[in-house]
């Protein structure tokens, strides 16, 4: 998308070359720049005054990025940051010579208190913080749009992979699926009537209650600082899930595919898989492997949840939608408690999150500690799914003190951070902890409940570098130059799981239903991300997707499938 370097106008060649005055909207260019220009131009009034601290994005090149280089992740992000360079004066000749700051793609260093390091302004991809978003608040700048679109790509891919994995696995064994649909999960009585609908609904209520209770318990434990218990539990449940569920999964697939399988192989493979996963998620990490593991873990959990009865599934999903909304959007949800606890202990909320950011993340500025975690040591709460710093770094989680205070309160930080963010960063004291997601784990069904807690907040939070890098020593040596953007969408693994549960259930029906539900859930996720950009606060990721998915499932099954069946003969899989 970048224009060839040297082109004076980043938008050259992308739109008609005619000066755009304020207020003129170009709709003929649908590139990012074009849309951004349209947005910017449509604002009334002059843009923000030229700010000496503002560094045009063009002046930031990949070579300045201290983290660019052999690091795969950094290269990728470096690519995406760079628009073509404009002239350094910041003027855009394509606009008829007017210095119109709204035309620029600014990246302003987020200096909250003062010019902390004007020289070190990291143009990174901290978008939009220049106040150029038309007066803050609800405006969207070009950078916001760009940022969000990038994040969408990053976050959508693993979700899609997870969903497709589940669909695949379910389809493989759909034919030979034992008919567990008639069985209650928690039914202990031996009297099983044919249509035990009430019983199935009770199952769903039991599950959601377990979710809620576990969330509250974890929130309370976090509040009281029982980190070891929390982490022990997370590790244990992740290990059991990976090992046990992985083994069951392998056995089930072998059954479906008629492959003989012996204990030795299963145990060997499962133990390897589980231990590898634990190490990657909770200890060191490699970005891709970690992401792969988290995705596979979510898919496994979702696959196992497709075993439950259909009525139970739908009721559970419906209740989850309600719970998600309650937990995130209402003041009585556990989210507030978690944020407060996080602030109090100055640690990140321990959770299993999928983060799209990179391993070489700058340890966040200690003052901000959002995601930097606290300064405390051993019990450092790990945002377990986040990248850790590359192992070479000696546990440095706190990077650049200089590079530190930057980029706060930008819209992309949106979500939870913006509301809290500003006030958090105003504190110059010890790190206010990061309001992150609720604790979640990818345990088995019972503990999958905390997964719910996680799914509660897909914040657009900064990616967290601190993951397990070690517990902790703060390493003040972390080079200040590691100011990689910490922005990244974070999505709790519970969201992955429940999207995939819906799709697994759809996969048990015919292909038409499966595909329409896939599209519906994806559209829901995109809408949620869009709303995230719009509202800039933590949003529950489940409701829109699940509601759309449920609607589409039933509508398709009732209307489209019979139609297709009637008119098409010899369709495979229907």
């Amino acid at each position: 998308m970048a224009d060839p370097p040297g082109a004076g106008d980043p938008l050259a060649g992308r739109r008609p070359v005619h000066p755009t005055g304020q207020g003129e909207v170009l709709y003929d260019d649908l590139s990012f720049e074009g849309i951004g220009a349209a947005i910017n131009n449509s604002r009334l009034g002059p843009g923000p005054p030229a700010d000496p601290r503002v560094v045009p994005l063009s002046e930031y090149t990949a070579s300045e990025d201290p983290l660019s280089g052999p690091m795969p992740g950094a290269a990728e992000s470096a690519d995406m940051q760079q628009p073509s360079p404009t002239d350094s004066s910041g003027q855009d000749p394509g606009y008829g010579g007017t210095v119109d700051s709204t035309d620029q793609l600014f990246v302003a260093p987020l200096v909250l208190d003062d010019e902390e390091d004007p020289g070190q302004t990291q143009p990174g991809e901290e978008p939009g913080a220049d106040g150029g978003d038309g007066g803050g608040g609800g405006g969207m700048t070009v950078e916001d749009v760009r940022h969000y679109v990038r994040q969408i790509d990053h976050i959508f891919r693993p979700v899609l992979i997870c969903m497709c994995l589940v669909i695949w696995w379910v389809k493989v064994e759909a034919v030979m699926r034992a008919d567990t649909d008639g069985m209650r999960l928690f039914g202990f009585s031996t009297v099983e009537t044919g249509d035990n609908i009430g019983g199935f609904i009770i199952d769903a209520i039991i599950i959601i209650s377990a979710v809620i209770i576990m969330t509250i318990i974890l929130a309370v434990m976090f509040w009281f600082g029982l980190f070891k218990i929390i982490f022990g539990y997370l590790i244990f449940s992740t290990g059991v899930l990976l090992g046990g569920m992985g083994a069951l999964f392998a056995i089930s697939q072998s059954l479906a595919l008629n492959i003989p399988m012996d204990y030795i192989t299963i145990v060997f493979a499962a133990v390897n898989f589980a231990v590898g996963g634990l190490v990657l998620v909770f200890y060191c990490s490699h970005l891709r492997l970690q992401q792969a593991y988290l995705t596979v873990m979510s898919a496994l959990l979702a696959w196992s949840l497709t075993r439950i009865n259909e009525i139970t599934t739908w009721v559970l999903l419906g209740l989850l939608v309600i719970w998600d909304i309650i937990a995130v959007l209402t003041p009585c949800g556990p989210l507030k408690l978690l944020i407060a606890a996080s602030r109090r202990h100055q640690k990140d909320i321990p959770a299993l999150l999928y983060s799209v950011t990179m391993v070489w993340f700058m340890a966040h500025d200690p003052e901000h500690g959002i995601l930097g975690g606290g300064k405390s040591s051993d019990a450092s709460p790990v945002d377990s799914s986040d990248e850790v710093l590359a192992p070479v770094r000696t546990g440095g989680r706190h990077g650049g003190n200089g590079g530190g205070r930057r980029r706060q309160s930008t819209p992309p930080r949106g979500a939870l951070l913006t509301d809290e963010g500003v006030e958090l960063h105003d504190l110059t004291g010890p790190v206010p902890a990061s309001p992150e997601h609720a604790p979640a784990s990818e345990g088995d069904l019972r503990s999958g409940t905390e997964a719910e807690a996680a799914d509660v907040d897909p914040h657009l939070a900064d990616a967290d570098p601190d993951a397990a890098d070690t517990g902790a020593q703060e390493d003040e040596d972390a080079p200040p130059a590691e100011a990689k953007a910490r922005d990244g969408l974070k999505l709790g693994l519970g969201d992955f799981v429940f999207y995939s549960v819906l799709l697994g259930r759809a996969a048990l029906s015919d292909w038409t239903t499966t595909v329409t539900c896939l599209v519906a859930v994806s559209a829901g996720l995109m809408s949620t991300i869009f709303l995230l950009a719009f509202f800039r606060r933590a949003l529950p990721a489940l409701p829109i997707s699940l509601v759309l998915g449920i609607i589409f499932f039933f509508v398709t099954r009732a209307v489209i499938t019979p139609f297709v069946l009637e008119h098409v003969s010899g369709v495979v899989g229907l």
């Binding site: 052999p70 003989p260 012996d262 192989t265 299963i266 898989f273 231990v275 590898g276 190490v279 490699h286």
Partner: protein, 79 residues
Amino acid sequence: MSPCFFLLPWLWVINYIIFRQHLKDPACSPVIKRYINYSLTGAVLLTLPFFVWFILFQTQWQTWGTFGEKIAIVIPRGH
């Protein structure tokens, strides 16, 4: 590579993947580089017996009589 990592070749592979970048780093101690390579070769060597066993089982399980059926979790339909 402590003995507790025995029989966990996947862990060694992960180790190799994580530290692979340091093989190019001239400032990195050669001892470490040696161990990084060891971990990869060790993983491969450890996995070989597993594959041997797996193939052996897949092809020969029926000829092992009772033992074959005892250690099998999944017996294909029709056998």
